[in-house]
């Protein structure tokens, strides 16, 4: 399988982020190319999640810029980011607890729903106003995702009642529903067993292959990272200590001592 890795789609330049005295990120730069699987690894508290939060517009870095497809931002606003086609999942489950699985994933489609409040209020089975049609079309899309993630049986369960692992899948489903160009995944496989990790990996690769979705992946399972990523960034204490192919990173002395410990 040869995939054609394209140009730089996301370029992070000299980002620094501080919380009071804590330096979460110091002068981080790296790029992500279209269509690749880019992993970010590093010990706990290295600043990986914070990095995603900066890209996402949740945190606003004190210094540095981020460019997306050549457009440069000092910092991004969440809504813009979403509109540009960047979706993400969260490390600490950020699902909408009171809603069912379907509704959670449907929220991912919201940017694409165009009918206004009145049309929605007067939505009807006769299709007048178009809101119903739109809803159905989007629902169909969501059902495909549900099928794929094999959570059909839980469609209508409030997500709060699902076991942790399934919640992670729903989180992913919600991000996918946005049909993103770039998908940021924050430890998607934490709390999964091997089989489930395999499923998840396969799935990430599928999305990457079929839709050309660029993936940015944070993961602590080195097996996964080494197997599926094209390039890896390594952070430690907010600094970048390595960047390159899995092979290169795996053999980087600094990375080994800071993160990997014994070789894997």
């Amino acid at each position: 399988m040869t995939k054609k890795i394209g140009d730089v789609i996301l370029d992070v330049n000299n980002i620094s982020l501080r919380f009071g005295g804590v330096k979460a990120l110091t002068d981080i730069s790296f790029d992500v190319r279209e269509h690749e699987v880019r992993a970010i690894i590093g010990p706990n508290g290295a600043g990986k999640s914070s990095m995603l939060n900066c890209i996402n517009g949740v945190y606003q870095p004190q210094e540095g810029t981020i460019s997306f497809r050549g457009q440069t931002f000092k910092h991004m606003n969440s809504r813009q980011v979403a509109e540009m086609g960047i979706a993400r999942t969260f490390q600490n489950l950020a699902l909408f607890k009171g809603m069912s699985v379907i509704d959670n994933i449907m929220t991912g489609r919201n940017l694409r729903i165009k009918s206004n409040l009145f049309a929605q209020a007067f939505r009807n089975p006769f299709g007048i106003g178009g809101a119903q049609k739109e809803e159905e079309a989007n629902r169909e899309f969501v059902e495909h995702i549900i099928d794929f993630l094999e959570i059909q049986a839980h469609r209508k369960t409030p997500v709060g009642q699902l076991p942790y692992g399934l919640q992670k899948r729903v989180d992913l489903g919600r991000a996918l529903a946005m049909e993103p160009q770039v998908l940021l995944l924050d430890e998607p496989m934490a709390g999964m067993n091997l089989e489930e990790k395999q499923d998840m990996s396969r799935f990430i690769l599928d999305v990457n292959d079929e839709f050309g979705t660029t993936i940015v992946l944070i993961e602590h399972d080195m097996g996964v990272v080494m197997d599926i990523s094209d390039r890896v960034v390594v952070l430690d204490y907010g600094k970048k200590i390595g960047d390159g192919t899995p092979e290169e990173v795996r053999n980087n002395e600094e990375v080994i001592s800071a993160y990997l410990g014994t070789s894997h």
Partner: protein, 269 residues
């Protein structure tokens, strides 16, 4: 089977959430004194529920044990409060960390010593925890909510250690931790187990690790124990190898090459 010194004995329990959702359908297991037992199984198998049933945190989730019994050193404990259990040395590290968001890391750890009265002992425990997790020491004054996922996980484990437990229930302790920390956590488990004779019951997804450190393993699926045996045996069991360790047929498969055509096809349909 002769029962040398069973600390925890779970006998055919059934658990129902919200009066209607039947989750555990007759789970039995026991943990001998000074041993490490692991409960393994996929998402939703009921591992967390089993641990909650033992530590009595089930009520807070509106679940209840409707059948069966749970004994700690021969004493029925279904009606004790979690606090009573902590006083008897049983402590659970909850899945999903549950740090006290507004308290600093150090305050979080200190709440763990609520049941301990001896000042010296508390200080020693704190030192011990900081030794295990130096990262926590550097972050001791930040509010727990503003620490990274892994730091919170360490905090949760450390907090439980502060109670000086004799039986620890660990729910996915490795989740979200960097590999060398995972290793360390299991080393800590081993360490406490051998040095301080702490008994462990751990629920883990990281089967590989768990079976490496545990003495005995139970494998759960949809609310039942489907297989159990000495860790050694389980590790060598072909099915376990295939499904849980990913080593069916010897070599470890690359995540890239796992076949999943069925799923793939459906996605494309």
């Amino acid at each position: 089977m002769s029962t040398p010194n069973i600390v925890l004995n779970v006998n055919g329990i059934e658990v129902i959430y919200n009066h209607v959702i039947l989750v555990l359908k007759g789970v039995s297991l026991n943990v001998p004194q000074g041993k490490i037992a692991a409960v393994l199984g996929g998402n939703g198998a009921g591992k967390t529920t089993t641990l909650r049933a033992i530590s009595n945190l089930l009520k807070a989730e509106r679940g209840e044990v409707t059948k069966g019994s749970i004994e700690l050193r021969g004493e029925r404990i279904e009606n004790l409060t979690p606090a009573d259990l902590v006083n008897r040395g049983v402590v659970q590290v909850m899945e999903g960390r549950h740090c006290f968001a507004h308290l600093t890391i150090e305050e979080n750890l200190l709440t763990g010593s609520y049941t301990r009265k001896d000042k010296g002992e508390i200080a020693a425990n704190l030192e011990k925890v900081y030794n295990y997790f130096p990262r926590l020491k550097t972050r001791r004054t930040s509010q727990a909510a503003y620490t990274s996922g892994g730091e919170q996980q360490m905090c949760a484990i450390g907090r439980a250690l502060m109670t000086n437990p004799s039986v620890m229930l660990l729910d996915e302790p490795s989740m979200g931790l960097a590999p060398q920390i995972v290793e360390e956590v299991f080393e800590i488990v081993k360490d406490l187990n051998t040095k301080e004779k702490v008994t462990f019951l751990l629920a883990e997804q990281n089967t590989n690790m768990a079976l490496r450190y545990a003495d005995y393993g139970y494998i759960m699926e949809s609310g039942r124990i489907v297989m159990d045996g000495a860790a050694e045996d389980l590790r060598n069991n072909e099915d376990v190898k295939e499904f849980y360790l990913g080593m069916g047929g010897g070599e470890r498969k690359s995540f890239k090459d796992v076949k999943s055509y069925k799923r793939r096809k459906r996605w494309l349909a």
